[in-house]
C-alpha cells in the first residue's frame, strides 16, 4: 500500500512539473551514483564552511573597503574627463576626420567601421582572429576526449540522458528548428556578404551562422550535424580560412610597408564586389567565427565535434 501511495505521489509531482521523468523511470544505480557525488560535495562544503566562517567575514569587509576606495578613485578621475557627446572632445580629431571623409575612396567600403577594422587597422583584426583561434585550440586541449578526462560513470549518465531525450520525441523543437534554421543561416550569410555596405560584417554574421548550427544540433542531435561537419572539416576550414587571411593581409602589409602599389582593385563603392580585400576577409572571418562558436559548443557538451 505504501508503495502505491509513493508512486501516485511521484505521478502527481511529475504532472505538476516538480520532478523529471528520469527520476521516475531510472534505475537505482543512477540514484546511488548521484547520492555518492552529493555526499562528497556536502562533506567538502561542510569542511570549508566550518573553518572559514569568521575568517570569511573579515575578508569580505576588507574586500568591500578596497573595492570602494578603488571605485571612488576611478570615479574622481573620470569626473575630470571631457563631457560625453561633445563635438570638441579630443577623441574627434584628424584621425576621425580622415576615416570618415576619405574612408569610402581609400578603402572602398561604405560601412566606415568595416573599412577601418579591415583596412586601416587590419593588424588588430588579425590579432583578434588569432585570439579566437587560440581559444578554440585551448578549449580543445582541455575538453577533447582523451584518457585523462573521460569518466565511465559520466559517459553512462550522458548516454542515459540522450536515450531519454530521444525517447521523448522533441517534436516541437524539431519541427520549429527545421523551419527556422535555413532562415537563420541565410540571414547570417547576408550579414557577412553585406558587411562593407551596411551594419554587420564577418564577426556578427559568423556568430549568427554559429547560432543556427547550434540550434540544429540541439534539435537533431550531434549525429546529424556530424554528417557534414566533422573534426577534420573543422580543422581544414579553420586553418584554410586563417591562412587565406594571413596571406592576403601579409600581401597588403608587405606592399604597404615597402611603399609598393597594391594590385587589388577597389571597385565601385556600393556594389557587393567592392572594397578590395574586405569582402574575402569578411567571408574568411565569418566562417572562422561560425566554426569556432559551434566548436566551443560541441567541446562543452560532448567533448568532440
Amino acid at each position: 500500500m505504501k508503495n502505491d501511495a509513493g508512486k501516485w505521489e511521484k505521478f502527481f509531482k511529475w504532472i505538476n512539473g516538480e520532478t523529471t521523468l528520469d527520476s521516475v523511470i531510472l534505475a537505482k544505480s543512477r540514484r546511488k551514483r548521484f547520492l555518492k557525488r552529493k555526499l562528497r560535495q556536502q562533506k567538502a562544503q561542510i569542511m570549508a564552511n566550518k573553518l572559514k566562517r569568521s575568517k570569511r567575514k573579515i575578508e569580505n569587509v576588507i574586500c568591500l573597503i578596497v573595492a570602494a576606495i578603488f571605485i571612488g578613485i576611478l570615479l574622481y578621475t573620470a569626473s575630470g574627463l571631457p563631457i560625453c557627446g561633445r563635438w570638441e572632445n579630443p577623441a574627434n580629431n584628424e584621425v576621425t576626420k580622415r576615416y570618415i571623409e576619405k574612408g569610402v575612396e581609400e578603402t572602398g567600403a561604405v560601412n566606415l567601421v568595416s573599412g577601418m577594422i579591415l583596412d586601416y587597422r587590419a593588424f588588430d583584426t588579425f590579432g583578434e582572429s588569432c585570439v579566437l583561434f587560440t581559444a578554440v585550440i585551448c578549449v580543445a586541449i582541455l575538453l577533447k576526449r582523451d584518457k585523462n578526462n573521460t569518466d565511465i560513470t559520466e559517459d553512462t549518465e550522458t548516454a542515459e540522458d540522450d536515450a531519454i531525450s530521444n525517447a521523448d520525441g522533441n517534436l516541437i523543437l524539431k519541427l520549429s528548428a527545421k523551419i527556422v534554421t535555413p532562415f537563420i543561416l541565410l540571414y547570417g550569410i547576408y550579414v557577412i556578404l553585406n558587411g562593407h555596405l551596411s551594419p554587420g560584417g564577418g564577426f556578427s554574421g559568423g556568430a549568427i551562422i554559429g547560432a543556427g548550427l547550434i540550434l540544429y544540433t540541439t534539435a537533431f542531435g550531434q549525429e546529424s550535424t556530424r554528417r557534414f561537419f566533422t573534426y577534420e572539416t573543422f580543422k581544414k576550414i579553420s586553418s584554410g580560412c586563417l591562412l587565406v587571411y594571413c596571406f592576403s593581409k601579409g600581401y597588403s602589409f608587405f606592399t604597404g610597408g615597402n611603399h609598393l602599389e597594391s594590385m587589388i582593385p577597389l571597385g565601385k563603392p556600393g556594389n557587393i564586389l567592392s572594397g578590395g580585400l574586405i569582402l574575402p576577409l569578411n567571408i574568411c572571418v565569418g566562417i572562422i567565427v561560425a566554426c569556432t562558436m559551434y566548436g566551443i559548443y560541441s567541446f562543452f557538451t560532448k567533448g568532440d565535434i
Binding site: 557525488r37 562528497r40 560535495q41 567538502a44 562544503q45 569542511m47 570549508a48 564552511n49 573553518l51 572559514k52 569580505n60 574586500c63 578596497v66 573595492a67 578603488f70 571605485i71 576611478l74 570615479l75 574622481y76 573620470a78 569626473s79 574627463l81 563631457i83 560625453c84 557627446g85 563635438w87 572632445n89 577623441a91 574627434n92 576621425t96 576626420k97 576615416y99 570618415i100 571623409e101 574612408g103 569610402v104 561604405v110 560601412n111 566606415l112 567601421v113 577601418m116 577594422i117 588588430d124 590579432g127 583578434e128 585570439v131 579566437l132 581559444a135 578549449v139 582541455l142 575538453l143 578526462n149 569518466d151 559520466e154 551596411s198 551594419p199 560584417g201 564577426f203 556600393g270 562543452f300
Partner: protein, 130 residues
C-alpha cells in the same frame, strides 16, 4: 562630482559596473560567478570606450549614396571598431576559463573554490604522509 554622475552617466555607469564586476571576482565563492565577474569588468570597459565615440545629434558612420561623407554628420567610428575587437577577445577568454571550470568540476565534483582548496589540502597531506 554629482554633475559628472548626471552628465557623463555612461562613464559613471561603466565605472560602477567595473566595481560590481570586481566585487564579484573577489567575494563570490562559486567559480563560474567569479569568471562572470571578470566578464562584467571587461564589458564595463567596453561601455566606457564606446561612450567616448558618441557625438550628440550625429548618426551611424555608414556613408549614404550620393551624399558627401562629412565628419559633422557621423559618430566617431574608432571606438566602435576597438570594442568590436574587444568583445571577441572577451568571449574567447570567457570560453577558455569556463572550459577550465568544467575540467575542475569533472575532477572535484564541486564548483566552490573553498571546497576545492580544502580537498587539495587533504590530497597534499595524503601525498606527503604515505
Amino acid at each position: 562630482m554629482l554633475k559628472f554622475l548626471t552628465e557623463n552617466h555612461y562613464e559613471a555607469g561603466a565605472i560602477i559596473l567595473f566595481g560590481i564586476g570586481f566585487l564579484n571576482l573577489l567575494l563570490q565563492d562559486n567559480l563560474i560567478k567569479k569568471f562572470i565577474g571578470l566578464n562584467i569588468m571587461d564589458t564595463a570597459v567596453y561601455l566606457f570606450l564606446v561612450a567616448q565615440g558618441y557625438i550628440v545629434g550625429h548618426t551611424a558612420p555608414i556613408a549614404q549614396a550620393g551624399e558627401a561623407a562629412l565628419a559633422t554628420k557621423f559618430v566617431n567610428p574608432i571606438p566602435s571598431g576597438l570594442v568590436l575587437t574587444g568583445i571577441v577577445v572577451s568571449v574567447s577568454v570567457t570560453a577558455f576559463s569556463l572550459a577550465l571550470v568544467l575540467r575542475l568540476y569533472k575532477k572535484y565534483k564541486t564548483l566552490s573554490l573553498d571546497a576545492v582548496l580544502e580537498l587539495l589540502k587533504e590530497d597534499k597531506e595524503d601525498e606527503s604522509n604515505p
